[in-house]
Amino acid sequence: MTAAAGPLRGKAIPLQGSLRSAYAAYEHQWLLYLRTWRGSIFGSFAQPVLFLVAMGIGLGGFVDASGSGAIDVPYIQFLAPALLVSTVMQGSTFEATFPVLGGFRWNRRYHAMYATPLSPYAIAFGQIAWIATRATIVATIFCGVIIAFGAAGSPGIIWTIPVGTLTALAFAGPIAAYMTTQRDTTAFNAIWRFGITPLFLFSGTFFPIESLPEQVRWIAWLLPLWHGVDLARALSLGTVGDAPLVQIAHVLILAGCAIAGVIAMFLMYRRQLEQ
């Protein structure tokens, strides 16, 4: 009975303690990454290279030669920032499904963490902060590859990195919150098949939304990925000034999804762990 003393001691978790434990949860993710990064780093380079060669140069050469006039920049410049955001979004979706499911159900890492002074919020923070970090790493590598390919429309290409991170959070927060309720990968497959793949194809990544019939164009506003794609493209082509309000709306919508999703995630982590 050494430290158990008066009623005033240790009433609330001191802020310092909360920050320290949130950091410890985040550190765990870094440790995991440092032990396994060799497996993923190649993919982080290879994927953008493959896409830019196939779609940007291969398909792009074809599109540019056809001279349809639907886009007024080389196709590869049109495609590259959108591809970056789409790729980061897919990666973060993956990071918000398997590791979350594993933490609760498979290796039950979260339960082990909760047996320590860590709060459910600290555990959730560790996960989402890592997803954001990983998204930033992937976006930075992708951006480097774009620049190396000479596929950057303007120095504004750098802005696609934070847009990638924001889009990652807008997806990962809600998906992680939802995955806390799942027991197996059924939902994961559904999310991928009916959510991520259609989004990847129809969010203006490969062709401008304006190519869709006018009656269905508004749907793009409902597609969270489109906001990231359109914003990243405008920033990298230097065309933000064409429709500044639309760009501001993109930021607000993405930030709104991210904040609401992360709050939901924190609450769900608490609900799942405190049973």
Binding site: M1, E27, L31, R35, H111, A115, P117, Q275
Partner: protein
């Protein structure tokens, strides 16, 4: 002020209750655990042992009743209490992608240890868990017994005041179990307070100074293994096994062989203080069991007496 009072219990529970919707998992149980004691919850699966344990571990809010741990309240001081507990869950929760040593170090970080201190304690604990040679191996290929020992080592990284073990040896082979028991016995000798759940009577007998028997969310008996056996069973038990179909025809012929007779599906248990005499009496009555086994009473018999069922079904 050096009064000769009993030390404040490390765990103090009165009317402790846990409900999940309609289901009452723990129904108003009372118990205390004193410093240095090793205390057990014995009961079949579904008796409420794990739910009780989770409340003590401050990861599951109490539905009703009083619970104080280390003289603190789990509602307001959960993180502080958890900082002084070591938890060995029923299912291993190791990070299989990390090395053995990394698992210990990162866990130490959760308790606010510096990397250096976590690594120092990690090395000591690997020694204790006899895993030093595996320090840099991944966790995945370790045997079940090794993973269990690593989980226990991890639970000790914060030098806990109480070590909670939920079914520590379930699923291990006999050799691994004995090694684990031996390690836990060492901890006990060092003065670590152990609280464990088990549905193995031999484990409870090996490790517990005192235990409660749980059945259907309640405590049905409490005491040391010896006290429980004295109170609820006889000194010896004679097990009679008859050929298939014979046992059902013995109506009335078994009465009075011992203090009490228990009919199990596959054998007859005769409770008496002299097992050999009971066996002889059976032979005198002309009974011809296939096998006769005289043994000392165990907690299994206590449990059978209290609930009419065996522990492991």
């Amino acid at each position: 002020m050096a009064e000769q009072t009993a030390p404040t219990p490390l765990i103090h529970a009165r009317g402790l209750t846990k409900r999940f919707g309609e289901l009452t998992a723990v129904d108003g149980i009372d118990f205390d655990v004193a410093p240095g004691e090793s205390f057990g919850f014995l009961g079949p699966n579904g008796a409420g042992k794990t739910s009780a344990m989770r409340m003590v571990a401050c990861v599951s809010p109490v539905t009703a009743g009083t619970l104080r741990i280390l003289d603190l309240d789990p509602v307001t001081d959960g993180p502080r209490i958890r900082g002084r507990l070591g938890v060995v869950p029923q299912q291993d929760t190791l990070d299989t992608e990390l090395s053995v040593k990394d698992n210990l170090v990162i866990y130490g970080r959760y308790f606010g240890l510096s990397r250096k201190e976590a690594a120092r304690r990690g090395d000591e604990l690997l020694e204790f868990a006899q895993l030093t040679e595996r320090a840099h191996d991944k966790v995945e290929p370790l045997s079940g017994g090794m993973k269990r020992r690593l989980t226990i080592a991890r639970a000790l990284i914060n030098e806990p005041s109480i070590l909670l073990l939920d079914e520590p040896t379930t699923g291990l082979d006999p050799q691994a179990r004995h090694l684990l028991w031996e390690r836990l016995y060492r901890l006990k000798q060092r003065g670590v307070t152990l609280v464990l759940t088990t549905h193995y009577m031999d484990e409870a007998e090996q490790l517990c100074d005192r235990l409660v028997v749980m059945d259907k969310a309640r405590i049905v008996a409490e005491g040391s293994p010896r006290q429980l056996i004295e109170e609820y069973s006889t000194r010896e038990v004679t097990e009679l096994r008859f050929p298939v179909g014979v046992q059902e025809t013995l109506d009335g012929q078994l009465e009075g062989l011992g203090e009490r007779v228990e009919l199990l599906p596959d054998r007859v248990l005769v409770y008496s203080d002299d097992g050999e005499a009971a066996a002889a009496a059976a032979h005198q009555r002309g009974l011809t069991p296939e096998t006769v086994l005289v043994r000392r009473s165990s907690l299994e018999d206590v449990f059978l007496r209290l609930t009419g069922r065996s522990l492991v079904e």
